[in-house]
């Protein structure tokens, strides 16, 4: 069926400079999208608007909201959702999945090494200063063996498709990567709004995430525990990702707790319940290292559990992710990922890394200062897209300001060429039509003892503002359901 006039895609404008995932190299709608394109194309824009409202209410009804830090009038917002899904064909997905596992495994070995023998540092493959200058390199973790040898149980890998058609990793998030609950609720919302489209495609389910998370966490239970008791710990309902914490606890069928619900006695962790204390063996923690245990880290933290770290050190509780994992989540460490993969796995990286200039190196600093308009400048230690400057979007004054910031503290910044993120047709409220918007993909990888799991889907984030490249939800991004096809 051909698209009718005045339908959803009839006014879709294609910028030839952008890599549009809907089309193949000949400019035709890709095979995998054809059915979907025709199905959507058979509707009028008015039909679509109605559906869109229905989807929005689905999010309200599910209670899926988030908050933005640094916003004075902060209140809960719904994460904008787009009804036109992204489709990934099985062959491409295989590469992504293998690449994500490879990175997670390499990072885990890297973490083990820098907290034990430190071979990679002694051999100078990764500079000592890169690690030692990181606040997240915890001396408390030296020679501590995490249960099952796993540090980064959960990794969120941010991947983009560049205009050369290849996938590149932008970041490995291994502190407390969030977003997986949106993957599942996007699927739920799309199914509610457009159940019929799923009859035409064989896409992998995404609702099996929680069961796999629980199963893999149980493979790294503390020694001597038969049936482990798992909990999710949250900083509380004011945290931007509270919805996700409660969602994961609910779908895993475990308790959601705050610091004050737990206490440590004789180096074992207990949960206060109305029936009396209950021993806790595995904690999926969504609080940062520094707030985890006021006796060992920040003493002004009211979020943590006093004594938790010594219980962990004794091997009586599993913490996921392990304390000190954040040192490998640093953007400066990212730039050594090809070396890290080669060093520990003796393999070539399956997914590309974006070339990175280190402002801590004199010659690279000079290059960066002269080429700001062509580069993306990022602070090495900020999450959520904060503090990023995109060179070709800056005014002259802004360029000078960025240069000054870098010159004052070169170690704090890295720069990368401006990657051209692929675009995907996205419904835009203001114009009531589909427009090209940049997208990325966050995949979720879980490492257990000798096992791993990658969620077949992931979170496609959309930069809703025209021309914007930053897709984080805190920076005004939305998301799409992401289908990985079975065949």
């Amino acid at each position: 069926m051909a698209a009718k006039d005045h339908t959803i895609f009839s006014s879709y404008q294609r910028d030839p400079a952008l890599f549009d995932e809907l089309y193949d190299e000949k400019g035709e709608v890709k095979n995998i999208y054809k059915t979907l394109f025709d199905l959507y194309g058979s509707h009028s824009i008015e039909d679509y608007m109605r559906l869109n409202e229905k989807a929005k209410s689905s999010f309200f009804n599910q209670g899926i909201t988030f908050q933005v830090y640094g916003d004075k009038d902060s209140q809960e917002k719904i994460f904008p959702f787009d009804l036109f899904p992204r489709i990934i064909d099985p062959a491409e997905w295989e590469v992504i999945e293998k690449g994500a596992i490879q990175r997670s495994r390499a990072l885990n070995l890297f973490l083990w090494d820098i907290y034990h023998d430190k071979k990679i540092l002694k051999q100078g493959v990764v500079p000592l200063e890169l690690v030692s200058s990181s606040e997240n390199y915890l001396h408390q973790m030296m020679d501590v063996d995490p249960p099952g040898g796993i540090y980064n149980h959960i990794s969120g890998t941010d991947i983009i498709k560049h205009n050369d058609g290849k996938y590149y990793v932008l970041e490995d998030n291994i502190r407390c990567p969030s977003g997986v609950s949106y993957v599942i609720s996007n699927r739920t919302a799309l199914k509610r709004a457009l159940f019929g489209v799923f009859n035409h495609y064989q896409a992998y389910t995404v609702t099996n995430y929680a069961e796999n998370l629980l199963e893999l966490l149980e493979t790294v239970k503390p020694k001597g525990v038969d049936s482990p008791n798992t909990v999710v710990i949250t900083p509380g309902m004011y945290n931007s990702a509270f919805y996700e914490h409660s969602y994961l606890a609910k779908t895993m069928g475990v308790e959601l707790v705050e610091g004050r619900d737990l206490y440590v006695e004789n180096d074992f962790v207990y949960m206060r319940t109305i029936k009396g204390p209950e021993k806790v063996d595995i904690i999926y923690r969504r609080i940062d290292d520094q707030f985890m245990d006021p006796l060992e880290f920040r003493s002004d933290s009211a979020l943590g559990v006093p004594g938790l770290f010594s219980a962990y050190k004794k091997g009586n509780v599993t913490l996921a992710n392990a304390p000190g994992t954040g040192v490998a989540d640093d953007k400066a460490v990212y730039t050594y990922m090809p070396e890290i993969i080669k060093y520990y796995l003796d393999e070539e990286p399956i997914l590309n890394n974006v070339h990175t200039y280190h402002c801590s190196r004199k010659e690279e600093l000079a290059y960066v200062l002269e080429h700001i308009p062509e580069l993306v400048v990022k602070p090495v230690d900020e999450a959520g897209g904060y503090g990023i400057s995109i060179g070709n979007k800056l005014t002259k004054e802004e360029i000078e300001k960025v240069k000054k910031q870098i010159a004052e503290n070169p170690r704090k910044y890295v720069a990368q060429p401006i990657m051209s993120l692929s675009v995907h047709p996205t419904y835009i409220d203001e114009t009531n039509s589909f427009e090209q918007r940049h997208v990325d993909l966050r995949t979720f990888t879980i490492l257990g003892k000798d096992r791993e799991f990658v969620l077949k889907g992931g979170l496609t984030r959309v930069a809703l503002r025209r021309g914007n490249l930053v897709v984080n939800s805190s920076q005004g991004g939305g998301s799409k359901d992401t289908w990985v096809l079975k065949h």
Partner: protein, 285 residues
């Protein structure tokens, strides 16, 4: 020859509003190591809460109390008997070539191995303008330079209790030139680490019978790593090498790793803490 010490530690906490739940962690127990043995030990509190023994991240013994009752006042008492064997701190040979000596500290393997004690922490960060007054003499060995640094710190700060607190920066201390043993030890560590010499912050007790500076609380000093020898104790508050009068409890990167008492309270309002430490010594044959 050996010396026996009796150490009495007391802490008293007073709260404005009743506390319903609290947890304290004490890092006050003398460390068992060569030349230092704990022969007896007692620990108690005025409300008879039980305590548990654990270790902190660096492996030093901690005592913890979990209090679940309503109270406005509590006192803690610990008594330790410690046997010290005197050893001469100068019982080693100095390297012959000072240049080669310092070069060994630049070796990558060495720097990786000792990274925790080479790191600048918040409490041991010093502006360059403040440390440049101490001149490292290349014709001297590392050990000799550290002895000079010990004296430099001793002369730089006037021992004055009550003018600095946990959040006073090292730069403020160097500018105002007043401080207590923690400040001396942080300054020593900051400068030694700037020269690439691994340095620990040490917390412990000082027997003050000999007129040394210290106070009626816990003392602080340093250990610096000397090639082929090991960790050597420097007490910049008194411009001496540590000896049989120093009873070590714990070490870390700085005070934050060694705080003798940490309390987590679930209560509002002000609270006050008073500590006192008494060290009595007697020589034994």
């Amino acid at each position: 020859m050996s010396l026996e010490y009796r150490i009495a530690y007391k802490a008293e906490n007073q709260y404005e509003h009743p506390v319903k739940e609290a947890r304290w962690q004490f890092l006050i127990c003398p460390h068992e190591e060569e030349g230092q043995k704990v022969t007896s030990f007692s620990f108690g509190n005025s409300l008879n809460f039980p305590y548990e023994v654990s270790t902190n991240a660096y492996g030093f013994t901690t005592m913890r109390i979990l209090a679940k009752a309503e109270f406005k006042h509590i006192s803690f008492e610990a008594d330790f008997n410690v046997l010290k064997t005197a050893a001469s701190p100068f019982d080693f040979d100095l390297p012959l070539d000072p240049v080669e000596d310092l070069q060994r500290y630049q070796n990558l393997h060495f720097r990786v191995e000792f990274e925790p004690f080479l790191r600048r922490t918040q409490l041991t960060t010093l502006l360059e303008q403040h440390s440049k007054f101490f001149e490292y003499r290349k014709e001297k060995t590392v050990f000799e330079n550290l002895v000079d640094l010990n004296r430099w710190v001793f002369e730089k700060i006037f021992y004055t209790p009550g003018v600095t607190h946990v959040n006073t920066t090292l730069d403020e201390i160097v500018e105002n030139r007043h401080g207590v043993c923690q400040d001396f030890a942080h300054l020593f560590a900051a400068v030694a680490r700037q020269f690439g010499i691994p340095c620990r912050y040490v917390s412990g007790y000082l027997h003050q019978g000999n007129g040394y500076f210290g106070d009626s609380q816990m003392h602080a000093w340093n250990e610096a790593f000397i090639q082929d020898v090991g960790w050597i104790g420097f007490d910049p508050t008194n411009n001496i090498l540590t000896g049989e009068n120093h009873i070590k409890v714990a070490h870390g990167k700085d005070y934050a790793d060694c705080a003798p008492l940490k309390g987590i309270l679930y209560s509002k309002g002000e609270n006050t803490t008073n500590h006192s430490v008494q060290v009595h010594g007697q020589q034994q044959q």
